[in-house]
Symmetry: C2
């Protein structure tokens, strides 16, 4: 019998996948499960995007250009320019989700066994893309105590070897909700310039910023035009996760030339979803205002309610729609399973994502969970009551 590859074996499992059967069991027992574990927003997709699909007028569903429809790239470039980002349409390749953009970025910048430094906790699938690309993740620890701010640059410098090719950040961050300040981005710019590294910034949550803070993109730092690679996606911006449309953006012609060859090999990004994404750019500002107001309300509700629970520590997220909470338990993995398998409160329970899967360092974050605040406020309140009651009776 043929053997599968070591790569296939070492591909990481989704950190929540092992909990799914327990969630099914709970549901089969008639227990209502509040999903705090997933990043699928309940926000409506803009009508202008859905209407573009309903009114579609084509006879042959053809490939698009491998870089995506030029009309879409031009409109996207105008969108960025309106935000003050100096991005031309030639600097953009449309990808199948931010996921493919990350794979292209890794493929263009790193060879087998090269190293990429990522502040942890980080988006769990970075591990998967790295394994698929044969690249080694080198984590640099950020902590809940200071809200998951950028680790000191000295911590990065200690980790740089001849194999180091890039630093990857998610800004604002999934899973921490941290928003890097302009000063922190400039610190990163310094170090990538000094060591000739790429700075890959996953900015897919850039529109989700609360409290009047301003998002500062790596595309806006003078002097690192050849180092900066931006990853973007329509998934969260327009609540179009199922579109699978993202993009890779860079001023570095060599990077974009190489990315184009990866893009050509897979022919084109999805046509229907590009049409919807292009139309989505006309979404009125009022949509975003409403969405941000809604998320800010959810965040405030969640943080207020979590802080009412004895022994729970949480860093207030400044952006995106996730937070990391430290619980008074030894093993959040076990606690999360127990919530689904054993616990209920008035016939309801919650599903959370144990945070250990968002760390690359072993045995870190064991008492932390990631919460996605993608539920309505009343359900977030109910979820926190359930968590509180659960922690009263849970024994490690």
């Amino acid at each position: 019998m043929p053997k599968i590859s070591n790569k296939g074996k070492s591909m990481p499992e989704s950190p929540i996948r092992k909990l799914v059967p327990f969630s099914e069991i709970a549901k089969n027992k008639g227990i209502k499960v509040y999903h705090l574990n997933i990043g699928q927003p309940d926000i409506k997709t803009p009508e202008v995007a859905l209407n573009a699909i309903k009114n579609i007028d084509l006879e042959v569903l053809e490939y698009s250009h491998s870089a995506g429809f030029e009309s879409y790239r031009r409109k996207l470039s105008a969108y960025y320019q309106k935000q003050g980002l100096p991005i031309n349409f030639e600097d953009i390749i449309i990808t199948t989700g931010g996921s493919e953009a990350l794979l292209f970025a890794m493929g263009c910048t790193m060879d087998i066994d090269d190293e990429i430094i990522i502040p942890e906790p980080f988006y769990a699938n970075y591990n998967g893309f790295s394994t698929a690309s044969g690249v080694k993740v080198v984590p640099v620890m950020s902590g809940i105590e200071n809200g998951f701010a950028l680790p000191p640059i000295s911590a990065f410098e200690k980790l740089i070897t001849p194999k180091t090719k890039a630093i990857l950040i998610c800004n604002p961050s999934n899973p921490t909700g941290y928003l890097y300040s302009k000063d922190e981005i400039f610190q990163l710019a310094e170090i990538v310039k000094k060591h000739d590294l790429f700075l890959i910034a996953d900015e897919v949550y850039r529109e989700f910023i609360y409290d009047g803070d301003v998002h500062f993109s790596v595309m806006n730092v003078p002097g690192i035009e050849q180092n900066a690679i931006m990853i973007d996606s329509v998934s969260k911006r327009y609540s179009m996760c199922g579109a699978r449309i993202g993009c890779i953006v860079s001023k570095n012609k060599e990077v974009m030339g190489a990315a184009m060859k990866f893009a050509q090999a897979r022919l084109s990004p999805p046509t229907f979803a590009q049409i919807a994404s292009e139309a989505a750019i006309d979404t009125p500002q009022s949509y975003f205002d409403d969405v941000i107001t809604e998320y800010k309300g959810r965040r405030d509700t969640l943080i207020t309610e979590l802080n009412k629970i004895e022994g729970v520590m949480v860093a207030t997220p400044k952006g995106a729609f996730y937070c990391i909470a430290r619980l008074p338990v030894k093993n959040a993995d076990h606690f999360a399973q127990w919530l689904l398998e054993t616990f209920e409160y008035n016939g309801e329970t919650v599903m959370v994502a144990p945070a250990a899967g968002f760390y690359s360092t072993p045995n870190v974050g064991l008492n932390e969970i990631r919460i996605a605040y993608v539920l309505k406020k009343e359900n977030l309140i109910k979820s926190c009551v359930i968590l509180k009651e659960a922690l009263k009776v849970y024994k490690d």
Copy 2:
């Protein structure tokens, strides 16, 4: 300035990409260019698929299951079973085009520097997927003289090393149009069983078979259930290239478990296109009958016309919609460029794909081109007249 990766540098360019600027120049001069170079059919997408999109009823464009919608996988499994293939829905993971299915197949079966044997000429992007996966392509030569039939098994055996993990075939073949016989598939089955290799079969053209021949799938060979991996796509079957929906199929649970981890890392295949692909399964048989009749007519026209040109040798394709033609020129690459740059016949010319890009062995196929017969018959006739007139005046 940071350097891009060797992987990025060594990603192959599309074999026709360098011709595109010359095609643009020709068009700007007002010359009509017949595109014999691309696999984008002009066949209409089934209405049932497009209507499913026009009538779409959703408020949030959500992720699907990472393996694709279960409803779609179940319907697809029924489609295969009707064709006599013993494929259950659990044996299927929906992918973003056949391209992603090939990447998953390579990722699950091969580590860095492992080897995959592929009869050449082969679909040029296999080189790209191999480079992206860090895998080495080992070509085994098939020849125009016997219509690109399977090379003798002894030729495969000579190439097998401890690094060899898989044999990849395209059946029927892009670019040759060759259809492997049941006997040839059984020969391949023998050798993969003997050496514990995977047999990956790209069967995306399986419905395009002419002359009453029957397609024989690797999923239909008893005894190689653990070796066989099938790649499929809706792109050609329903003229839905822009959907970017394919699938990877195997009975090997370890392979599918590993493929699922690759699938989870990229979250899900595109939702709109899955809805269209699921609906497309209801396409009436008359659609396929018409399409096959049309392609058979095109093939017959093309081969008849090519055979009228002195010095041209062509193997009659049995399936798909490509053929390889040997021309009385030294360098088809140069000839193809000259056709666009210099030649015209009554204000018209043709664009062809030089076949060297479909070989992995250097300096092979230099006098061959690949022709896609995706144009209407009258345009194929005109194209052959242009080729004939061009060859009269062309000087190497």
